[in-house]
Amino acid sequence: MELLNFDDTGYGDELLAGVFITIRLALLSFLLALILGVVLGFVALAKNRLLQAFWRTYASVFMGVPSILIVFFLYFNAPSLLKSAFNLRVDVTPFVAGVSALAIVYAAYIGEAVRGAVLNIPRGQWDVARALGLKNLSMWWLVILPQIWRIALPGVTNIWMTTLKDTALVSLVGLTDLVRMADIAAAATQEPFLFYVVAGLVFVVFSGLTMAGSVRLERWAFRGQQKTKG
């Protein structure tokens, strides 16, 4: 247990630094994925054929290819691609490659969730909003959006959990996140189980916190809804 001390004799402080990097990576990727995903969700709902084709290709590619491959791809190729496209000189660190790859991949899943949620809102809701004389903006804000939350929330919670666990893969391009730190400590101390189990438990605790948080979020999203007894 001394191996987990928070000083020069133990790896506690190194692991904690790794935890912060993991959290930053997960939160930033998810936030970007959420923004990009909502945009994609509406692209997916557009009647325009070109937009439709774009969405289908995007979803198929990024849902059909491992996210770690996208991480490697961006880590190796983003600098030269950005240079040839925009004449930008950018230093792509493992963190930047990880955030952009996870955001691009999970935006596809969020887009799918948003699209599904909008399509699942009963037709009558749109008609009623119109019949009440609501303008476009108030219709979306008062009638449609609260229901999108409700329908999409469980799926989006799952996407967050998957994003969180996928951050582990970014350690493979050299990011010193929790998993990388645990691996270094395991190799140096010859105590692999201790460090891998600790790292694993950190992720388990985060999914536990997510569960607790999602229960509250869902209670908020389902406010005013009658509970059906199953």
Binding site: M63, P66, I68, L69, F76, T162, V204
Partner: protein
């Protein structure tokens, strides 16, 4: 940097070999995962608190921890235990491929128990009551009603999980299994072309995923003949 068609053609055989290893990880993981998930699901649904709690801990840990950590745990961790190193078990765990299958199976089983539990619980109560009222016992009801109906209800969640873990196999390169992604990355460092090998690997992964989707969609259509 542009896509190099000539290089793509030249590296195709070695990439296909890597894809073969990736494909070879899928069936054993699916079979082993199913074998250990069924009793764990039963334990989870049982009224015995100890059994249910143990099954819950298994599911929570192996579902909550990233597959990469589980792979490290099996490959780097088990090898340090003398009970593994000094007995016949070493024949099993000295192979990176076997360790990869075991690590992936643990992760897959964590998700699979949830899929199975969800499917069993989604079977309408009225159907079971109808079965009991016809005089069927619990085993008969499970085999003739819960299983076939649950299979249909759970297939789509199972499909998603199989695709998720198939993509997750790309992490096995970290424990020295020469799978598709690992071959592509090695080709990147040999050819100094960071684009072509990864685009080719992406295309092959995409094809593998589309094939799995195709199989599942066919199965779904076949099973949905009543609706």
């Amino acid at each position: 940097m542009e896509f190099n068609v000539e290089l793509a053609w030249n590296i195709l055989p070695s990439l296909l070999k890597g894809a073969g290893i990736t494909l070879a990880l899928i069936p054993p993981t699916m079979v082993l995962g199913m074998i250990i998930s069924i009793p764990i699901t039963m334990a989870r649904l049982s009224s015995n608190r100890v059994l249910a709690g143990a099954a819950w801990s298994f599911t929570t840990f192996f579902r909550g921890a990233p597959a990469l950590i589980l792979l490290y745990m099996v490959y780097n961790g088990l090898a340090t235990l003398s009970i593994v190193r000094d007995t016949f078990l070493w024949n099993i765990f000295s192979s990176a491929y076997t360790c990869a299958v075991i690590g992936l199976t643990l992760n897959h089983a964590g998700f699979l128990t949830e899929v199975l539990r969800g499917a069993i619980q989604a079977v309408p109560k009225g159907l079971l009551e109808a079965g009991y009222s016809l005089g069927l016992n619990r085993t008969k009801v499970f085999i003739t009603i819960t299983m076939p109906v649950g299979l249909r209800l759970g297939l789509s969640a199972y499909k998603n999980e199989v695709i998720l873990f198939t993509k997750g196999t790309a992490a096995v390169g970290a424990i020295t299994v020469i799978d598709l992604l690992r071959v592509a990355n090695e080709t990147v460092s040999k050819s100094f072309d960071p684009l072509t090998p990864l685009v080719m690997a992406a295309a092959l992964y995409w094809l593998i995923v589309q094939f799995i989707l195709f199989c599942f969609n066919n199965a779904e259509r076949k099973l949905a003949f009543h609706t």
